[in-house]
């Protein structure tokens, strides 16, 4: 019987990361597309940075930041009694940073693909920016929202480098599916590694297949 705990942890991490990132990236992407100011290109670079950095670089800096005897880690420890290094909370924070570009860029392209008239038409009908966002803009970029969510979810499932650096391999706490595979291979237990790997492979395939199917349907309906 295989141990399902790593999968459960991976799913929990992916779901939490996706939910938090959607809430963070909605205003962020809105600002990046509609906002003005010289800050924008700077922030755009920061948002995309996790795409090009080796996961070990992100993991290393996060580990330094989480260190409970210095700076940010010490501040968290003193005021909130939170220790992020080698904990599930630390994994969530790391995943949020690591998967940020997937959610932010999907929502950004969603906003950018909308005809500019939609937002202005809603304003000219007397509707607030919030009402416009939820009733007009978001419903017309459903496929971008879905793409962002699924890519974030799938990317978090597939994370390895960052979580190994900041989470380690603590069973029931930070030992995720991808780490479990690595562990089984290290112990020459190819049979179990194979089972874990196959489950992840099939799950990821089905997830992406679902997105493409649904997006394809949106696309077909959207055509006049």
């Amino acid at each position: 019987m295989i141990d399902w705990m790593p999968f459960w942890l991976s799913l929990k991490l992916a779901a939490m990361t996706t939910a938090v990132l959607f809430v963070i990236c909605l205003p962020l992407a809105y600002w990046l597309v509609y906002g003005r100011g010289s800050w924008i290109s700077f922030v755009e670079v920061l948002v995309s940075l996790p795409l090009v950095l080796p996961p070990s670089v992100i993991g290393f800096y996060l580990l330094l930041a989480f260190n409970p005897s210095h700076g940010f880690g010490a501040w968290l420890d003193r005021h909130f009694d939170i220790r992020l290094a080698f904990s599930f909370g630390g994994l969530v924070l790391g995943s949020i940073i690591y998967s940020l570009p997937f959610m932010a860029n999907a929502l950004k392209s969603g906003f950018a693909s909308l005809a500019p008239g939609l937002k202005e038409a809603s304003y000219s009908l007397g509707k607030s920016p919030a009402r416009t966002l939820f009733k007009v803009l978001l419903p017309n970029m459903k496929s971008s929202v879905l793409t962002g969510m699924v890519l974030t979810f799938a990317h978090t499932l597939g994370e390895f480098g960052v979580i190994l650096m900041i989470g380690g391999n603590i069973p029931g706490k930070t030992r995720l599916a991808s780490i479990a595979i690595y562990e089984e291979v290290e112990m020459m237990n190819y049979h179990d590694a194979n089972r874990y790997a196959l489950i992840l492979l099939v799950a990821s395939f089905l997830l992406l297949l679902g997105v493409y199917r649904i997006n394809h349907r949106f696309f077909r309906f959207a055509r006049p």
Partner: protein, 292 residues
């Protein structure tokens, strides 16, 4: 009444241009802004609607000040009672025609307004359809209906008919005029179709490169004289030939050509490719029922 005096530096396709325009419209008046593309026409509408901030100036609508740069007043678009019909209509693709109209309802405004508007605009057959499935003319009517739901003080039309064929355009011009009178609207239309402007406007402003080149009645501004003819139709001169003492002009209207006669003094200002308006004077046009 709406009075505005606007100043804005714009980055156009032909470099930087300074837009300067001022105007005063009484309630119920119909103003057309005419000029080549890139003249700043749409920017005027956007500034009035609160979608683009002027560099300087003021906008006054009856007692309320919508914008005043010297007093730092800038009423947001939502607070200005306007109806805006965009060039691409900007109907919301996620809503049916009826939902588009209902979205425009203001707080405490009953749903009967939507029902009435659907009736007035003859949208009953289309009310459960999504905008993507409508023809250009139908979308235009839906967009116009949506803009009128909130009972605007000022209706802004940004080349609303430019994407439509001649027959549909003619029909919708009548429609716009009917609504303008029915609701006692003050309307500003941006257009480059001369016949449309002649048919609809009380006042015309000719705008080029951000500057007002002329203003007044349609005839004076567009042709330098008042035009008393009926059935104005706009076209383009394809050919000019001298025959005995008169000239025969070949004018393209839509995808048809018609011939018109002009004397030498008129022809000297005409060039091939000029946009002209043909109107009949004194004589009634011949009308025959088309065979089916």
């Amino acid at each position: 009444m709406i009075a505005f005096d606007l100043n804005k530096s714009l980055q156009g396709t032909n470099g930087r241009l300074i837009l300067e325009i001022s105007c005063r419209l009484e309630k119920g008046e119909f103003l057309s802004i005419y000029g080549p593309s890139g003249a700043g026409k749409t920017s005027v509408l956007r500034m009035l609607a609160g979608l683009l901030e002027p560099d300087q100036g003021s906008i006054q609508s009856d007692e309320s000040t919508w914008y005043d740069s010297s007093r730092k007043i800038r009423l947001p678009a939502q607070k200005r009672k306007i109806g805006f019909v965009f060039q691409d209509y900007a109907l919301f693709p996620n809503m049916t025609v009826q939902e588009n109209l209902e979205y425009a309802l203001q707080p405490r405004q009953g749903k009967e307004s939507v029902k009435d508007m659907i009736e007035i605009m003859e949208l009953g057959e289309l009310k459960y359809r999504k905008p993507q499935s409508l023809s250009g003319g139908q979308r235009q009517r839906a967009a116009l209906a949506r803009a009128l739901i909130r009972k605007p003080d000022l209706l802004l039309l940004d080349e609303p008919l430019s994407a439509l064929d001649h027959a549909m355009r003619y029909k919708l011009q009548e429609e716009i005029l009917r609504l303008h009178r029915h609701f006692g609207l003050t309307t500003i239309l941006v257009s480059h179709d001369l016949a449309e402007i002649v048919r609809l406007s009380d006042q015309v402003i000719h705008l080029d490169n951000g500057q007002v080149l002329g203003r007044g009645g349609a005839g004076e501004v567009l042709f330098g004289q008042s035009l008393s003819g009926k059935f104005p139709i706009s076209g383009e001169i394809l050919a000019m030939e001298k025959e005995d003492v008169v000239y025969v002009l070949t004018v393209q209207i839509g995808n048809q050509t018609v011939f018109a006669i002009a004397d030498e003094s008129e022809v000297k200002d005409f060039h091939l490719g000029d946009k002209v308006v043909i109107a009949s004077q004194a004589f009634n046009p011949v009308i025959r029922k088309a065979s089916r």
